[in-house]
Each structure stands twice: as structure tokens, then as C-alpha cells.
Symmetry: C2
Subunit: 537 residues, 2 copies
């Protein structure tokens, strides 16, 4: 009996050993209910470091930004510290240059300048949102199992899967986007759920700016004013549809969903799982929309991206693109894995801590049209001659592509379309980068914002408020930044800029008081006498 076991005497290394030789860091949970139960009992006896509060207080100005104490402890208690260590080593090797938003499970964000280098994000810079540690799997012994409601359950070796004479291959340019992209915009205004695996404060970054830097410190702004949990790569693999057809002889009529199981270990309320998510058969059926991929931008998948094999689900939230996938189950209903059934839910604003359930939010799958301004930075002081250059990305999931991008220099009253020649080419499943020289006459604080129209004429909600939700997912409202405009084409401004320069001062140091007189006394008196404050009678 489980209850008779002296938990302190459990040899966790043995009980929770790796399943398969050559598959380091992979523990099988889903096949062994007793093992899961034992792990839960052990976890239940322990106290773990609480989730850090980062919504009502500012983010630390460190990199890594947040430390995943609790999740490290979960692994350690079960004898899986090796996974934690290997994961961080992998980060150092494969992602040394990221904003490490959470060190474990690793969540890393692309820096803005790297993001805008081109429509393809390099493997080194592509964002990472992991839900567990990184396994280290030898591709020579790797195989994938396909079972459930298929005609013939099979195991396919990695070698066979990659053999083009067995399965037709394809390459697709795909933008993957975490549904937490731009989450910080929601957090800044309306804090929400503090999930056990933290709802990472993926950037827009104004909070960061407030925290860390003066407006003049552009290099810091560049580093920390983070926005993206989106990235685009060219993936090579085989369509899951082909695998199901060729290897399994097709699915059974009851099959409506395909579940993906990953080799990483996931925790939820002291229950232990392998990572599991699902997508509808209807999505898989579209030829190229769900891939089993082993190549990213012409290279083998980096370990941290799912080596040797991952799923790539076009147009869906990143969470469905299961990494280290080793089992696929054809199901009649969506996966009951917590990531699918209890997380990534989209709630109406009346739902929150006081009434949230798993059934009163809907499962987020396809991503809506969305866009962001990557340059300039929020709170940046910009000296210009009547035009300010804006750059950013625009994306639509769910079967639509980006049709038009529009920006506003007045918070959303007047809109300017980005000329087609200033956008990267259209893709069915990838974003477009864009650039525009936005006419800007006014000075002082201006609100710039962007919206995108997709191929179904969808556009974005106006304000964060318009689509705020308890789990802080899918921040797809018009992205807004405040910039301080200094229009050098105005004579008074040009004159003052010269005076500042003569005094070794800089308008970019916006809040630094001037140490020289702003006006000659006689000039001042002349004006005051001409236009006295008080009426004469």
C-alpha cells in the first residue's frame, strides 16, 4: 500500500529514474499512475519557496530577471536536479544573449535589436517559453510512438521519420508566439493570476523602463524595454497528417484530437506529468499546418527548442508546439493534460480569483491578429525633423495573414498605413516586419500606437482594457507607447537645442533641470507687460 511507505526512505533516484537509455532527463509519468501518486505524496510533505510577487511590485533589474526557486525544488525533491543543471548549461550554450526572464523552467526573450534584424529570428535569439527542464536525447536511439484512435499504432525511429523516401518533407516559415506575448501591458494596468509556473511578464517593457533607467539611457532601454515572445523560423519536417496516413493507415472515425506528449516533466499542484497538449484533427488535416520538425533555420533543432523532434503548429499558441515530442495519441476529446485543460484559458473580464474555474474560460488555440512597435522605445525622447521612424512586427494566426499595418501618432484618432514596400513579404504562417516614417508635428508626450488588419479584415481591440483577462493571455490590443517628441524643424526648438548643446546639456536628459537662465529678464518683462496676467478692468 502506498500509504505504508516511509516517504523519507524512498530512493527517489531509483523510483523516478530515467525511462530509456540515451534519453537523459526523460522520466515517464503518464504510463505509471502509482509512480505519479508516490511523487505527489512526497511533494505534499514538503514546503516550497512561494511564487514571487512581481505584479504588484516592480520586476528586479537583474538578468535572470526572476528565479524559479519553486520549480527547481520540485525537481530536486524527486531526485531530478540533473535536469535543472543541464537546462541552465544549455541556456548558457544555446541562448547566452537573451533576456532571461525566468531561469527555470527557462523563459527567455529576444532583445529588440536582434528581433528586428530580419523576418527570420536566429536560433540563438528565438524566444523560449519552456514548461519544464531540457532533456538530452540521443537521436540515434530516439523514436516516436503514435497510438490511440489510429488504425495501426506504431513506433517510428528518428531515422525513418527523416527518410524522404518514407515520408515527404516540407519546410514552412512559421512565427511562433507565446500567448503571453506583451503580457506586461496587462500586468502594468491590471494584475492577474499568479500561476504556479509564473505567467511570465513577457515584455512590452514600459514597466522595465520605469524601473531601471532614465529616459536618456538608451542602451539600457534597448536591453530592457522588452516586448517579444514571438519569433519566426523556417522549420523542416513532415506533416503529421502524412505520418498518420502513411505509418498508421489513418485515424479511426472517433478521433477528433491529436495529443502530443513531451519528454519534459511538468508539475501542477503537486501532481507530476509529462507535458501534454492537443490540437483538433481538423487542424492537423490541413496539409502543412501541423509538422513534426527536426530542423530550424537549416540546422538541427537546438536542444532547448526540442531536439531531436518537436511539433510545430502553425497559427496556434506556442504551447501547442510540443517540444521533445515522443508520443502522439489520437483522442476523441482534447487532452486532459493540465496545460491543455486547466491553463491557456481565455476568460471574460468578470472572471477572476473569486470565481475562476477550468470550464468558464475557453481554451486558447489560434492566435488573433496583433502587432507591436519595437522602435522607438516607450518613454524615449526623440529629436526629429517632423517625422519619426517606427518599426515593428505584425502577425495573425488562425489561418489569416497580415494584410495592412497602420500607425497613429495621436493615440488612435488618425491612422497612417505602412506602405507595402516597407513591409517584409507575406507568409501564410509568419509575421511581417514593417517600418514607417510617421509625420509628427506635435511636441511633448505623444502616444503612438499600431494596429493590423488581417486577411479576414480582423483588427485589434483598442485598449488593453478591451481584452484584459485573468490569466493575462493574448494581449492583442493596439500596442501603445509614449514618446517625448522634440521637433527640430520648429525654430524655437532648434534654438533651444543649440543652447542646451552650448551648455553641455542634452534634451534627452528630459528631467534634468537646466542650469542656465531660460530667458533674459528684459525679454520676460517685455512679454509680461504686453500680456499682463490680470485684466486691466
Amino acid at each position: 500500500m502506498l500509504s505504508d511507505i516511509d516517504l523519507n526512505s524512498v530512493d527517489v533516484k531509483k523510483e523516478f529514474a530515467e525511462e530509456t537509455a540515451g534519453w537523459t532527463g526523460y522520466v515517464e509519468w503518464e504510463k505509471y499512475p502509482e509512480k505519479k501518486a508516490l511523487a505527489k505524496r512526497i511533494l505534499d510533505t514538503k514546503k516550497f519557496t512561494p511564487i514571487p510577487e512581481f505584479q504588484f511590485v516592480p520586476l528586479p533589474d537583474t538578468n535572470p530577471v526572476l528565479i524559479g526557486h519553486r520549480w527547481k525544488e520540485y525537481h530536486e525533491v524527486l531526485g531530478l536536479k540533473g535536469i535543472v543543471d543541464f537546462s541552465w548549461e544549455t541556456v548558457q550554450k544555446e541562448k547566452p544573449d537573451m533576456i532571461h526572464l525566468l531561469d527555470f523552467p527557462y523563459n527567455g526573450e529576444t532583445r529588440r535589436d536582434q528581433l528586428m534584424e530580419g523576418k527570420i529570428t536566429s536560433n540563438k535569439c528565438h524566444f523560449i517559453r519552456n514548461h519544464g527542464g531540457v532533456p538530452d536525447i540521443n537521436e540515434d536511439v530516439f523514436e516516436i510512438e503514435v497510438g490511440g484512435l489510429v488504425k495501426n499504432p506504431v513506433k517510428i525511429s528518428f531515422k525513418d521519420l527523416k527518410d524522404p523516401s518514407k515520408f515527404p518533407q516540407e519546410t514552412v516559415t512559421v512565427t511562433l508566439q507565446c500567448s503571453g506575448t506583451r503580457r506586461i501591458e496587462q500586468i502594468q494596468q491590471y494584475p492577474g493570476d499568479g500561476d504556479e509556473l509564473i505567467n511570465a511578464p513577457w515584455g512590452e517593457g514600459a514597466m522595465y523602463v520605469d524601473l531601471l533607467v532614465t529616459a536618456s539611457d538608451i542602451s539600457l532601454l534597448l536591453t530592457l524595454n522588452h516586448i517579444p515572445t514571438s519569433g519566426t523560423a523556417v522549420y523542416r519536417g513532415v506533416a503529421l497528417k502524412k505520418v498518420l496516413k502513411i505509418a498508421c493507415g489513418g485515424i479511426l472515425p472517433e478521433c477528433k484530437h491529436l495529443e502530443f506528449i513531451g519528454a519534459d516533466t511538468y508539475f501542477k499542484k503537486n501532481n507530476v506529468y509529462n507535458y501534454a497538449v492537443s490540437v483538433p484533427w481538423r487542424k492537423v488535416r490541413h496539409n502543412e499546418e501541423v509538422l513534426l520538425a527536426w530542423e530550424m533555420n537549416g540546422e538541427p533543432l537546438p536542444k532547448i527548442h526540442g531536439y531531436p523532434l518537436r511539433v510545430v503548429v502553425t497559427g496556434y499558441i506556442g504551447a501547442r508546439s510540443c517540444k521533445w515530442v515522443y508520443r502522439i495519441n489520437a483522442l476523441a476529446e482534447p487532452s486532459l493534460g493540465p496545460v491543455q485543460s486547466q491553463e491557456y484559458l481565455y476568460y471574460t473580464p468578470q472572471i477572476g480569483k473569486q470565481n475562476v474555474k477550468y470550464s468558464n474560460g475557453f481554451s486558447i488555440q489560434a492566435m488573433p491578429v496583433s502587432s507591436a512597435i519595437i522602435f522607438p522605445l516607450d518613454k524615449q525622447v526623440i529629436v526629429h525633423d517632423g517625422k519619426v521612424t517606427l518599426k515593428g512586427w505584425a502577425y495573425s494566426g488562425g489561418g489569416n495573414w497580415v494584410q495592412r499595418v497602420e500607425v497613429s501618432n495621436d493615440g488612435g484618432s488618425v491612422w497612417y498605413a505602412v506602405p507595402e514596400e516597407n513591409m517584409t513579404q507575406k507568409h501564410y504562417h509568419a509575421w511581417r516586419l514593417w517600418k514607417i516614417d510617421l509625420p509628427t508635428d506635435a511636441e511633448g508626450w505623444l502616444e503612438f500606437c499600431v494596429r493590423t488588419w488581417d486577411s479576414s479584415n480582423n483588427t485589434e481591440p483598442t485598449f488593453v482594457r478591451s481584452a484584459w483577462n485573468w490569466d493575462l493571455h493574448v494581449t492583442s490590443s493596439c500596442h501603445r507607447i509614449k514618446i517625448y517628441s522634440v521637433n527640430r524643424s520648429r525654430p524655437d526648438t532648434a534654438k533651444r537645442l543649440k543652447v542646451l548643446e552650448e551648455h553641455g546639456a542634452d534634451v534627452h536628459n528630459l528631467t534634468k533641470p537646466a542650469e542656465f537662465e531660460l530667458e533674459d529678464l528684459n525679454e520676460f518683462l517685455e512679454y509680461r507687460r504686453k500680456y499682463p496676467r490680470e485684466p486691466e478692468d
Copy 2:
């Protein structure tokens, strides 16, 4: 020749000695241009600690919040360290319980709970916005000089001034308000001028909350979620009009403004001054509107409030109510003191660091209609049964009184008037405190706001944006807070609150993840089967 002096050999204690026996901490500057010039030359040779950046970065979570290094150094260099020390001793004695926003020159803010104790703010809790150190003047030797464009320049001893057989006395209930009240609302959205004497981040306080506390920590919220630089007291004194008439035989026809000189020392761009401001004769002429006051709430003026004598200008910004006033000049034009001519200016939003002058803003005198919500606190989680109690203040300067207060639970679409019986009585020159049980059905994040209508039917601008200005003065837009509403009269919410309680959890810890299952699996599946995510066909 001034230029021949070896500045290092100057005996500052002697050169900048106190002017008058019994007037400790008072140095006369305005009468001695050579002395001012010497002080400037000395200051010009020194380097001072830069003004702290507190607009682009969060406020420190200390009390005092900001440290006035630079202004202490100004005083020290001129041998006036005693003023700095005495000022802080006075704070300890007279204002031990304040939020010390800036330790020197002392800026102190009333705590919210103290503010709402009654319409009169106690002397111990009344806000302070000083521009220099606190002098220590013996009332037995104190006299005030009245000169300039008056028929007979005079000196009046304090004893004579207080003699009711010589001057008729009056008491007036007056709200004084710093034009920086609620400045933090502007700073949070749009940083502005970082004046040499810092534009103190007088609270609304959401920034504080973000900084320091989790939403559940109400005691800290109470302390730090600061709003007021307004306070109300009953002042006793004589009307300046009477003094001019009785003691001086009236003013000369050319007199249009009355200048007040205070015994504190003021600095601006290395120039040294006695504090000087002015108000129009037309304002003084109104019988009770400009007082020379020695009593505050039935007690002698506290030292930090101007003992022995101060000006109280009803309806005008606090800066005109000169403390430690010892000289009054009747002038043809407004004072050229920097506080009057170069500060407290109100700019249009196109004016900023790139073009600001002294003549392109207008001098702020009378204060507009304004109001604030003091309870609940910004970002507070509120459990209620369909009504939320709001409390606050409402004020109008400039000759108007508060007529009606209205609040909104939806950011400003639907407004509810505060019933007359829930407001303190009307005064010509003081605020009204108010309270309302605001019907609140919705849950989640709501935006509450308040606006006030005064006796000329003025009301407040809608958003901070509507009236933002470079010097961050007069934040009179509708005050807004975000609260998280939990409506216990809804059955699902009542049920969840019980579950939380059973688990020792608290809905006030909004972002803390629940450690129990939010929904029974069968219930979840039943719902999901009844309302499947994907269409059937």
C-alpha cells in the same frame, strides 16, 4: 572688487551672519546685492550632488522618501548648516508622523487615515511644502515691515499686530493646497521638469503601491498610497487690507500687487534669495481673503508652518501663503522673486524642455475645482455586497465653493452624486469631505473616478492627459483609481470565498495561485461536452 576676493578665505559665518538678534536662521539677502553676489561666486565654485531622478525610476521605499542633499549642501557652503539641523529637529517635534517626502527643504504629506478624520486637519498632520529651512524667531522681538507703494511705510511689532484694539481680527477656515497635489498622477504617465528644488512627487500613490506592497498588505497601502498635499485649518489673524489701511494709511494708486518676503533662504541657479511671492491688490482688497495669521486651529502657528507670522491667501496655491513673513512690499508689478516669476507656471502641453521659458507659461494663482478619492486605495481588492464605500475630498479655490461631488464606477460613463447629507458643510475657502456607497455590480478590475462641480459650474478635466503640463502642476483631472471588485452577493463568488477560507487562502492575495483544484474533473468534462470548443460541422 568682488573678483579680487580669495573665495577660500571668506569667513562665511561672518559674511552670511544672521541679521537680527532673536531671529535665528534668518539671513537678509534682498537688501544686500553685494552679499548675494558673493554667495553666488562661492556657490559657482562648488559641485553639488545632482538632483535625484525619481520620475523615470521608482520612488525609494524609505521614509524620508527623498533626501535633499543638494539643498543641504547649498546651506552648508554658506555656513548655514544650523538651519538644516534645526529644520529637521523641528520636523521631529512638530511632524513626527508624516510621510516625509523630502527631508530638506521639508516636504511632508498627511497620511490618508489622518486626512479623513475630519474636515479640519490637525496641526501635527497638516501637509508641509517648504522651500527653505525653518527659522527660529522669538516673537517678542519680531516685527513686520510694510513698505513700497503705501502712503506710510511702517514697522509693526508682533504685539501690536495681535492687539485687537489696533487691528480687527478674524478667523477663517481655509484649505491650503500645493499646486503639486496629486502630481504623481502626471509623473506616472508623463515625466516632466525635474526642478532644482524637486517637483515633489506628491501623491496619488499608485506608483508607490506598485513599488512597495502586494495588494493584500493594506496597512502598507494605507501608509504609502499617498495623495494629499492639501490641508484645512482655522486661521486667526488680521486681514492684510486692514493693516494697509490702518497702519499705512492705504496704498498709493500705482500699487497693483503685494509682495511677501519670508525669512527663509531660497536658492535658484546659485543665486540666493529670501523667499518672495506676490498677490494682486484686487485679491487683498477682498476683506478676508488675504490674512496675516498667527494662530492655526486655536494654537500659535507651529514653527514649521511659519511661526510667528505667515500669510494665508485663500483660494490660491499654497506657495503664495508666505511663511515667516517679515516684509510686505506694495508693488506696481508682480514680484520678481523666482518663486513668483520663474516657477509655478502653467504651460500648454507643447511646451517642455525643448522650448520652455518664463514667459510662455502663466503664473498659477487661484486653484481650480478638484477632488480625490482617499478610500479605497488604488489597486485594493474589495470584497463587498453590491456597494463599495468611497471617501474623499473636494475643493475649489478662486472664489468658488464645492457644490456637488459625483463618482463613477465605470471610468466616467455613469455618474452618481454624493448625497448632500454625506458631505461636510460648505465653506467659501475650504474643502468638503464626502462619502458615498457606490452601487457596484461588476467584478474584476474597475475604474472608479470622481469629479466635482463648483459654484460657478466648473468641473474637472477628464484625464491626466487633458491637462498635463511640463512643471506637473495642478493635477485637477478626474482622480481615478483601479480597484478589484469581489461581489459577495453573487452566488458563485460567495461559494468560492468559502472555499478559499477553508483552505486558509484569501482573495485579497489576488495574485497568489490557488493550491487546490478549482473544479471537479467530472463537472469540467460535463460542461466541456455540453459546450464543445469546436463546432460539430
